[in-house]
Symmetry: C2
């Protein structure tokens, strides 16, 4: 059953920028967050609290948070991999916790330096009044283990809900997913008792078809990056999240309310293109949103 | 009702190459056709019989046809806009007629130098034993008139069937379509009594979502270009057909039989990239088809 309204969470300031060769200053990263909020995004993954040695692009998360101009009605979240990351997030004063773990040990070891079981234990240790969303990486396929069974992902999702997750996001971290998987994950995720969503990459041009399949299956949350920024430093060739403005174009065309001002969001991508000095993978900001033109 | 098997028609040698700045020699264009057939494509739009003055990239269509090495089981077609084009196609000895007209007078005047009614009259005048597929341009939206009503497109499709069309293809010529439209056109097209299909561009990143929606609605034919070549010289910024190999990746992932050897098709895009001297818009040929890398 398709939702008439969905939440788009822009992960560009985190998943997008962490994959740029250039590390942007915290003020510029905060400005990106502020521009996204001004364009109508109600959910923004602003930073990640991970090791600055491992992901230098995300250093200075606390400085980014300080420079954000909070807007009423916007949820500002940060990514954490463990209890220590959560403590930094809570001290910085963000609104929501985005905890990430992977569906496979191989990937989780690379990304979080832990086995999946150890990450679930970290999640259990986090005692908080903040809402906790858990994103399950490589839910659609793992660069080391190949395709991941839906049953494996669902069993892990159930454990995460038991450990306190109030939302589950199935992530196609390396962009190998097809609509069949998006549909299955979201449909079966409907039995978890919490809202479910998808985090999609467009590496093989299936990202928007997966978004549409997830929408039809009842997904409540979609994670995307303004301009189609993003990827994963530990998953080679995993280019680009689905572009938020292209997702908005699709969703609005389907009659779904996103709350985003598409023209304002396109202007953010144009600004970001100048900041980064290269064209972004998003298509709508280059082609234009209007039919006649 | 989703089909277990569909026909992919590669329009790269026509819609793709007609939008390249460089005009390729007929032998190279024929080689592209031969490579596509060798990769398992069963339907290839090899040439168009239009004015060489208006579309110099398509000059020498007869020489292309002569240089094609015909394969058993492959349908080689050509695009025509009128009776005169059909006569050239018949003389050249192709297997099928791809007649194109637009859903709006504004676009048809630019593309075919005729009103829509005059194009329907041309279609009626074509007396042939060859199968005739009719593609309706700007079915999803027109760069001059804006969104096109599904009812308008369906009324024209019915007239085309009466005039002899044995297949109807709804074309998103400028890549503005959303899944809702693909679904509506294909579902309502089911009442025409002939197979229906879609011709999609990925200008705003909705092309593959539209393909998936069309598949679910029962489309039998998909038009795409190897590597994502294509566009329309009279529709500014209408970049790229959906890439055939990316479509194959999606369809095979959904369990649909295409007959195409994906690795062989990726090799065609790699060859084409060298011929044209630039990266193509397709993603699968760059990211690789396999999950585990």
């Amino acid at each position: 059953m398709m939702a008439a309204q969905v939440t788009i969470c822009d992960v560009g300031p985190r998943d997008g920028l962490q994959n740029e060769a250039e590390t942007l200053a915290p003020e510029v990263r905060a400005e990106l967050v502020n521009r996204l909020a001004a364009a109508g995004l109600r959910s923004i993954e602003a930073v990640s609290f991970v090791s600055a040695e491992r992901v230098p692009q995300m250093a200075g998360a606390e400085d980014v948070v300080t420079a954000i101009e909070r807007r009423e009605g916007v949820t500002y979240s940060g990514l954490v991999l463990n209890e220590k990351g959560y403590e930094r997030l809570a001290a910085a004063g963000l609104d929501a916790v985005h905890f990430t773990l992977a569906a496979t040990d191989s990937f989780n070891r690379r990304n979080a330096n832990r086995l999946v079981d150890e990450s679930v234990a970290e999640l259990e240790r986090i005692e908080t009044d903040l809402p906790v969303s858990v994103s399950i990486s490589v839910s659609f396929g793992c660069p080391f283990d190949g395709e991941v069974e839906t049953a494996t992902v669902m069993a892990l999702a159930e454990r995460c809900v038991q450990a306190g997750a109030q939302e589950i996001v199935f992530a196609d971290t390396i962009g190998v997913g097809v609509p069949r998987q998006a549909r299955e994950l979201v449909e079966r995720g409907g039995g978890l008792g919490v809202p479910v969503g998808v985090h999609l990459h467009n590496t093989r041009n299936t990202g928007f078809a997966n978004a549409y399949a997830a929408l039809e299956a009842g997904a409540a949350v979609f994670e995307s990056s303004v301009g189609g920024l993003g990827g994963c430093p530990f998953a080679p060739r995993a280019t680009g999240n689905i572009a938020t403005e292209d997702l908005v174009y699709l969703l609005e065309g389907e009659g779904v309310e996103t709350g985003v001002d598409l023209d304002a969001l396109i202007a953010v991508s144009e600004w970001l293109e100048e900041v980064l000095g290269r064209p972004l993978p998003g298509q709508v900001y280059r082609a234009g949103a209007s039919v006649a033109g």
